[in-house]
C-alpha cells in the first residue's frame, strides 16, 4: 500500500470515528488537557509579568540603584544610552522650620521628573482633602508636605518653610508615594521637594546620613544590559533593587498564588491524562472487533499500528491546535472577566505556554492514549469467528509505571517545583495503592458471584463484584479525579483564609513610636478619648549584638546589607509572654526565669550566626552584657503588629531606658485624629501604612479571584474525567441490562441496581480520594506552599458524598439508554 493511500485511510478512520461518536470524549479530554495547560500557563505568565509590573511600583521603578554616596553621573549617562528612563532621588532626615519658632524632624525626599517611573504619585491641594494623581513633582522652590507636617509646623499652603538654608513654598500635600515603604529615609513625616533645590539647602555635608537612588525604567533587555555593565562597578553600600525587593507581603502572596495556579495546572494535566487514558481504553475496546475484521480482511499488524498511530498523531495535531485556541481563550476570558478587578493589563505571555501545551498533547497521547491502542495490533483475526478470542492483553504494569513517570515529569517541568510535584504524586500513590488493595479484596469476594437478579441490592452488589476488575480500575480513576479536586479546593480554601487572616479588617495600619515612658499614660488616655484601639505598648531599646560565644563580630554599619557574622544594631524589647504573630521554631520560650536569656528572630539569628544555646554579647549604650539564646522565633512580619528581632525577659532589659512603640488602626475618615495626636505629642513619630495595606489587600483580592476561576476550570476537567470514566463502562452494563430486560426484568429493578452500583463505586472512590487528598494537602501545605496544615474534617463528608452523588448521577444518566430504548435495539447495536 502506498504512503498517500495510508494517510488517506487514517484521516478517514478518524472522520468515521468522529461521525460515529467514538472520538468525542477522547478529543475533548485531549483538547481540555492542552487548553487547561496553555490557558493556565499563559494566564500565569501574563499575570505574573503584569503583577511584577504592579509590584515594581513599590519601588517606583523597574530597578533601583540605592547608594550611600552620590551616584556617578556617568551611570546615568550610560542608563540613558542604554535606552532607559531614569530619575534621581535623594533622601535624608532633617529638621524643617516654619517662619517662626516651630520646627520638626521630617523625612526629606528630593525628586526630579519623571519620578515616579512606575506607580502613581498623589497629592492634594490641602491636607486631608481628596487625593489627586499627578505626573508632576514639586517645581523648584516649592515643597509638598505630609498632612501631619501642616499641623506640626502650623503652616498652610502658600506659607514658606525652611529646609537648611533654603526657604521653600508649601504648594500642596503629599498623599501617596508608590515607594513610601521601600524609601523611608528616617521616620518623620514626608517633605517632598525638587532635587534642583538641594544644593541651596546646604544640608548635605560630608558624613551626612543620606540615601541616594537612581530609578531606572525600561525593557527587560535594556535593563539587563545596563545591570551587566553597572554591577561590577558597584561599591560597598551600593545595592541593586528589583521587583522582588518591593513589598514582602505582596511578593509572598504572588509566589503562593503562582504556585497555586501552577499546581492547579498540573492537576489539570493529571485529570486530563486520566480522562485521555480512560477514553483511549474505551476507544480501543470498541475498536477490537473493528481491528479483527480489518485483519481478517488482510490488514497486517504494521498496517493497524500505522493506521492508529497516524490517526492518533493527526488527532494530536488537531487537539493541539484546538487546545491552544481554547487555552488562549481561557486566559483571555480570565483577563476579560477580571479586567476591572485585576486592574492590570495582560503582560506578554510569550510562546512558552504553547510549547508546553503542544508537549502536553504529545506526552498524553504517547503515554496514555497509545498503550491501549498499540495493543489493537495484537488482536487476533480469529475473533471474527470466535468472539471470546483474546481481545489483546489488558493494561500492563509497565504502562502504569511509564504513565506515572510521564505525568510526574510533566508536572515537574510545568510547575518547576519538586515539592509540589512530590506532594501530588504522593497523594496519587496513596489513592492508587489503597485502591488496588480494596480492589483485590473486592475481587476475592467476587469470585463465583452470579447475576442474582432477585432484588435491587443483590443485583447491584453482584454486578459490582462480577465486574471487579473493571470496577477496580474505574474506582481508582474516580478516586484520583475526586482527590485532585478535593486537594485544590482544600489548598484554595486554606490559601484564601490565611490571606484573609493575614490582614483582617481592623489590621493596625499606623505605628506610633518614640513614645517616652512618661507619655504612656496620657497617650493611652488620648487614644481612648479618640476611640482608637491600640496594640499593647512594647518597650524599645536600641542595642547592638557584638559577639557570639565570645567571638567578636565584624563591624558593619549597613544594617540592611548585613551579612552573616556581622554586628547588627537593632531595637531590643522585653516581654514575659510570646508576642502575637510569633512562633518559636527552636528552643523554648522562657517561663518564670531569672537567667540572662534572649530570643532571636530566625533570620536575624542567621545573620549574626547564633543558634540556641549560644551566648551572645550585647551592648546597650555604654553597657555590655551576655545572654544565652534560648529560643529562635519565626515572625509574621505581614501581620502589621509590633515585633522585634531581639526579645529579652523583662528583668534583663528593664534597667535600661526605653522608648515605647505601638500600632493602631485608623479608618480613612478618622485620619484627622492623627493631627490631634501629633500636636499633643510632637515627639511621638507616627508611620502611616494604611495606603500600603489597602494596596496589598487589593492585590490579594485580585489574585484570590483568579484562583477561584482556575478552580472552576479544573473542576470542569475533573467532571470530564468522571463522565469519561462512567462512559468507559456503560457498554457492558447497558448490554447486561438489555439482556435482563429481554428476560423480563423490571425497569425499576435495573435502574435501582445501576444507581446502587455506581453510588457504591462513588462511595469507595470518595473514601480513596479523601485519604489521598489528606496526604497531598499535607505535603503541599507544609512543604510546598508554606501554609499551616490542619486536618480538614469537612473533607470526609464532602469527598464521600460528592463521589456518591456525582458518580451515581452520571452513571444512571449514562445508562438510561438501557431502560429507555427497546432491548432489541440495544442488543443489535452492541
Amino acid at each position: 500500500m502506498s504512503a498517500p493511500a495510508q494517510t488517506l485511510t487514517a484521516r478517514k478512520l478518524l472522520w468515521r470515528d468522529w461521525r460515529g461518536g467514538e472520538l468525542g470524549i477522547l478529543l475533548a479530554a485531549l483538547v481540555l488537557a492542552v487548553g487547561v495547560v496553555v490557558g493556565i500557563s499563559a494566564f500565569v505568565a501574563s499575570l505574573q509579568s503584569a503583577l511584577e509590573n504592579e509590584s515594581r511600583r513599590f519601588l517606583a521603578a523597574d530597578q533601583v540603584i540605592s547608594s550611600r554616596q552620590a551616584i556617578p553621573e556617568v551611570w546615568r549617562d550610560k542608563a540613558r544610552q542604554s535606552g532607559l528612563a531614569s530619575a534621581s532621588l535623594v533622601g535624608f532626615p532633617s529638621m524643617v522650620m516654619n517662619d517662626g519658632e516651630g520646627m520638626t524632624l521630617a523625612s526629606i525626599k528630593a525628586v526630579e521628573a519623571p519620578y515616579p517611573l512606575r506607580g502613581t504619585l498623589k497629592y492634594s491641594e490641602a491636607p486631608y482633602e481628596s487625593a489627586i494623581a499627578t505626573e508632576q513633582v514639586p517645581t523648584p522652590g516649592e515643597v509638598w508636605l505630609a498632612p501631619r507636617l501642616f499641623a506640626l509646623l502650623d503652616v498652610n499652603v502658600g506659607d514658606p518653610v525652611w529646609v537648611g538654608e533654603a526657604s521653600l513654598t508649601v504648594a500642596g500635600a503629599i498623599r501617596s508615594e508608590p515607594d513610601s515603604t521601600t524609601a523611608m529615609f528616617g521616620y518623620g513625616p514626608r517633605l517632598l521637594m525638587n532635587v534642583a533645590d538641594l544644593a541651596a539647602t546646604g544640608v548635605i555635608q560630608p558624613g551626612s546620613r543620606v540615601s541616594y537612588r537612581l530609578l531606572l525604567g525600561g525593557s527587560d533587555a535594556d535593563l539587563a544590559t545596563f545591570v551587566t555593565w553597572v554591577e561590577p562597578q558597584m561599591a560597598q553600600g551600593q545595592r541593586l533593587l528589583g521587583s522582588g525587593d518591593g513589598q514582602a507581603s505582596v511578593n509572598r502572596t504572588l509566589q503562593r498564588a503562582r504556585a497555586f495556579l501552577l499546581l492547579a495546572g498540573s492537576l489539570g494535566v493529571v485529570l486530563a491524562a486520566a480522562a485521555i487514558a480512560l477514553a483511549a481504553r474505551r476507544f480501543s475496546e470498541r475498536h477490537t472487533d473493528y481491528v479483527a475484521i480489518m485483519k481478517s480482511l488482510g490488514a497486517t499488524s504494521a498496517t493497524v499500528n500505522r493506521l492508529y498511530g497516524s490517526s492518533l498523531l493527526l488527532m494530536g495535531l488537531i487537539a493541539g491546535v484546538l487546545g491552544c485556541l481554547v487555552g488562549w481563550a481561557i486566559q483571555a476570558l480570565f483577563f476579560a472577566l477580571f479586567a476591572e478587578q485585576l486592574g492590570v493589563a495582560p503582560g506578554p505571555m510569550g510562546v512558552l505556554p504553547f510549547v508546553i501545551g503542544a508537549t502536553t498533547a504529545m506526552v498524553c497521547l504517547l503515554f496514555f492514549a497509545w498503550p491501549p491502542l498499540r495493543r489493537l495490533a495484537l488482536v487476533s483475526p480469529l475473533r471474527v469467528l470466535r468472539r471470546e478470542e483474546d481481545a489483546g492483553s489488558a493494561q500492563q504494569i509497565q504502562d502504569y509505571v511509564f504513565g506515572v513517570l510521564a505525568m510526574t515529569g510533566l508536572m515537574w517541568w510545568y510547575s518547576a517545583d519538586i515539592l509540589l510535584t512530590a506532594s501530588v504524586v504522593g497523594g496519587l500513590l496513596v489513592t492508587v495503592g489503597v485502591g488496588f488493595l480494596l480492589a483485590k479484596a473486592l475481587l476475592s469476594v467476587g469470585r463465583g458471584v452470579g447475576s442474582q437478579a432477585g432484588s435491587v441490592w443483590r443485583l447491584a452488589m453482584s454486578g459490582l463484584l462480577r465486574r471487579g476488575n473493571a470496577n477496580a480500575l474505574q474506582m481508582v480513576i474516580f478516586g484520583i479525579a475526586i482527590m485532585l479536586m478535593l486537594v485544590l479546593v482544600m489548598v484554595r480554601t486554606s490559601l484564601i483564609s490565611q490571606w484573609q487572616a493575614q490582614l483582617p479588617p481592623g489590621t493596625p495600619n499606623h505605628f506610633a513610636f518614640n513614645i517616652g515612658s512618661e507619655q504612656r499614660t496620657p497617650l493611652a488616655a488620648l487614644f481612648s478619648d479618640l476611640g482608637i484601639r491600640t496594640e499593647p505598648l512594647f518597650p524599645m531599646t536600641r542595642g547592638r549584638v557584638m559577639a557570639v560565644n565570645g567571638r567578636l563580630l565584624t563591624e558593619d554599619r549597613d544594617e540592611l546589607g548585613a551579612n552573616e557574622g556581622r554586628q547588627r544594631e537593632s531595637n531590643f524589647t522585653y516581654a514575659q509572654g510570646i508576642p502575637e504573630a510569633t512562633r518559636v521554631v527552636a528552643g523554648q520560650w522562657w517561663g518564670d526565669t531569672s537567667a540572662e536569656e534572649v530570643s532571636l528572630e530566625e533570620e536575624f539569628a542567621g545573620s549574626v550566626g547564633a543558634a540556641v544555646g549560644d551566648t551572645i554579647t550585647l551592648r546597650v549604650g555604654a553597657d555590655s552584657f551576655d545572654a544565652t539564646v534560648t529560643s529562635i522565633r519565626a515572625v509574621d512580619w505581614e501581620s502589621m503588629k509590633p515585633n522585634f528581632f531581639v526579645i529579652f525577659p523583662p528583668h534583663v532589659l528593664d534597667k535600661f531606658p526605653a522608648m515605647y512603640i505601638t500600632s493602631f488602626f485608623l479608618a480613612p475618615d478618622s485620619k484627622g485624629a492623627l493631627n490631634q495626636i501629633v500636636r499633643a505629642f510632637p515627639t511621638v513619630t507616627v508611620i502611616e501604612l494604611d495606603i500600603v495595606i489597602e494596596e496589598v489587600r487589593s492585590i490579594v483580592a485580585r489574585v484570590g479571584q483568579a484562583i477561584e476561576l482556575v478552580l472552576a476550570v479544573i473542576l470542569c476537567a475533573g467532571a470530564l474525567v468522571l463522565v469519561a470514566g462512567v462512559q468507559s463502562s456503560v457498554d457492558v452494563r447497558i448490554r447486561e441490562s438489555a439482556l435482563l430486560r429481554a428476560l423480563g426484568a423490571r425497569r425499576g429493578l435495573l435502574m435501582g441496581a445501576l444507581a446502587i452500583e455506581f453510588t457504591v463505586l462513588g462511595l469507595f472512590a470518595g473514601c480513596l480520594a479523601v485519604m489521598g487528598a489528606e496526604v497531598a494537602a499535607w505535603g503541599l501545605q507544609t512543604q510546598a506552599l508554606q501554609l499551616i496544615y490542619a486536618p480538614t474534617l469537612w473533607l470526609w463528608p464532602l469527598g464521600v458524598v460528592s463521589g456518591m452523588v456525582i458518580i451515581g448521577g452520571v452513571g444512571v444518566a449514562s445508562c438510561r439508554k438501557a431502560v429507555n430504548v427497546p432491548p432489541l435495539v440495544v442488543l443489535r447495536e452492541l
Partner: protein, 221 residues
Amino acid sequence: MITVNNLLKKVPVADGELEILQGINLDIKSGESLAIVGVSGSGKSTLLGLLAGLDVASGGDVVIDGVALSTLDEDARAALRAQKVGFVFQSFQLLPALNALENVMLPLELAGVANASARAEEYLERVGLEYRLTHYPSQLSGGEQQRVAIARAFASRPRILFADEPTGNLDTATGDTIIDLLFELNRSEGTTLILVTHDNRLAQACSRRVQLVNGRLETFL
C-alpha cells in the same frame, strides 16, 4: 488450489489438551464449491479458521496456491488474505460506525484500490442494495446486512471465499436469497467457495460436501 495435509489443532484445557482437529487431509480445486458440515462442536469453524489463515495449526499444513501457511507469520498470512481471501460470517461482522458503502470499501481501502468507492457501489448494486448505500448496519435487516457482507467479500475479487454459516442467522426465505446470491457471484467471479453450514439446502448447492465428526473428516458426500 488448496491442499490440507494431516492438519491438527489442539487447545489446552484444564485437564490436558483437547484435540479439535485430528489429522485432516483435503484437496480443494480452484473454482470448486465445498460445504463442510457437521454437528456443533465438531470442529467446522476451527477448520475454516485454519484454512483461511486466521489461526495457526498445531500440526500439519494448509497449502494455498503452493504457499504453505505454516511458513508464514501473521502479517504474511494477512497479506495473503488481502490478496486472495474473502469472508462471509454468520453474524455479518459489519462495522457499526460505517455505512453500507464504507463497509464494502474497507477491504478495498486496505488493499489500496484506487476506485474503492465506485467498485463498492458496483457490488452493492449487484446484491440489490444500491438504494441503501448510506444506511448504517443498525438500519438494515439481517438479510440486508448479509448482502452487504457478501458485497464486501466479493468486492475485493478474492480467489477464495470462506463463509461461516452464512444463512445461520436468517429465516428460510432470506436464507434462500442469500444462497442464490452467493452462488451466482461465485459463478460469475470464478471464486473457490468454502463454507461451513448446518443448512442442508446450502450444502446441497455446493459441488462437494465433507462431514466433520469429532475432529475427523468421516464422510465424503
